[in-house]
Symmetry: C2
Subunit: 219 residues, 2 copies
DNA sequence: GGCTTGACAGCACAAGTGTTTGGCGGGTAT
DNA sequence: ATACCCGCCAAACACTTGTGCTGTCAAGCC
């Protein structure tokens, strides 16, 4: 028996989905059922509602019942990136050893915000993600340059090899380094080969977050 | 005479604006007037409408008349980045010398799309920007890793020092390099100092686009 | 004191919008 | 053939939501 796979949708559903995507991109809010109906020359609103239900069931869009214009495209044909939009607070600057404001010190709701591409959205959806602007080239070999914006997930532990924002209590300084737990000590390894690793007592280091994304603008 | 500046808004308007911003971030669509009314304990819808009109006049939000949930925040308190959302077509993959699809070859409206952070939005607003996913580490010297997404503005010329996607006609290969025009020749300079530049005749190089942004996910 | 203006309240209305019900035609399985 | 499901159509219905009055009240101005 021929059953349509969960990932395949009819031509009309494809049209509807694309129309929604473009509409949202263009206007910033989603089309109403009647917008879709008129644009695609569909004879009845119920047909749109019918297909919308299918698109929802198959995970292409998300809807809120009874809410006007509450359609959100979830993914495109490859299943990646959707229209989902996430904004995380840009809490400050991280320099080659300079201090990093504690996330708690800055009101996330009043901070500048950075829009996170959907590719990084899985983690930012969790809500404990923030952004920092990188100053200096201490992480150049980790492919992180001056001016880049790094996305950090707030967490206090890290596994070896993960790139973290580490605060050195004694120096009251924070750097981006690769983290290696080595017995009583912690090795903070710059990605840049011209720079030496730092060895510090484990109790002198507080992990402030793990790097989960990088955004660079070359304007 | 004391007149409120165009950029200052009352406490209630600040609340409303922030509520809208957060609401949109969270739900992906904007709140209705009554949503705002209830959330902020305002006694009448007309008060919300009244303040919304002011916010619109002062440029904090945009609205479409008669459209349900058609509010779009335009800027935050710092005047930078708004909720503006730009999506550019993801036209394909760029590999370690593999062919790059001509932008014209792919219908941008049907291609996958990548959401561009507002930081990169100035250029993407122009509409001639596309994205490529990087496959392989041939661009590692340009701080671009496997899996990164590069944003390119379509242009056939480049100024010295700009990073471009350059097609070498003889090799039918494309790389990302810094571009320097030197007389009859073109120097393609990797960003990594440990790697040597490539010198090629100027008529063997076609610039396919300039790199304007990089997005990396470390998940 | 009158007058204007800004901000808010209450309420009713109308337009916008999602939902539902019943029906129709063409496939496909039994 | 019959039954059934899918995709579509039409129209009515009901809820959602923006808008438009009409007032109230306090502050400033002449």
């Amino acid at each position: 028996m021929r059953r349509s796979s969960p990932d395949t949708i009819s031509a009309r559903q494809t049209d509807i989905f694309h129309y929604i995507e473009n509409f949202v991109t263009q206007y910033g809010y989603s089309p109403s059922i009647r917008d879709i109906q008129n644009a695609l020359d569909i004879s009845s609103t119920s047909v749109v509602a019918y297909n919308l239900r299918i698109l929802t069931a198959k995970g292409w869009i998300e809807r809120e019942d009874k809410i006007s214009r509450g359609i959100r495209p979830k993914r495109n044909r490859n299943g990646n990136g959707g229209i989902d939009l996430f904004r995380v607070p840009l809490l400050g600057t991280i320099t080659a050893g300079g201090p990093l404001p504690e996330p708690e010190e800055v009101d996330p709701s009043s901070a500048d915000k950075v829009t996170v591409p959907p590719d990084l959205a899985d983690v930012s959806r969790l809500g404990d993600v923030y952004a920092l602007k990188v100053r200096g080239q201490s992480m150049i070999d980790a492919l992180i340059d001056d001016g880049d914006i790094v996305l950090l997930r707030f967490q206090n532990t890290a596994e070896n090899g993960q790139m973290v924002a580490a605060r050195l209590l004694d120096d009251n300084a924070v750097t981006l380094k690769k983290f290696y737990h080595e017995g009583e000590q912690v090795r903070l390894q710059p990605a840049n080969q011209t720079m030496s690793p730092i060895y510090v007592p484990a109790d002198n280091v507080v992990v402030q977050g793990r790097v989960v994304g990088v955004i660079r603008s070359l304007m």
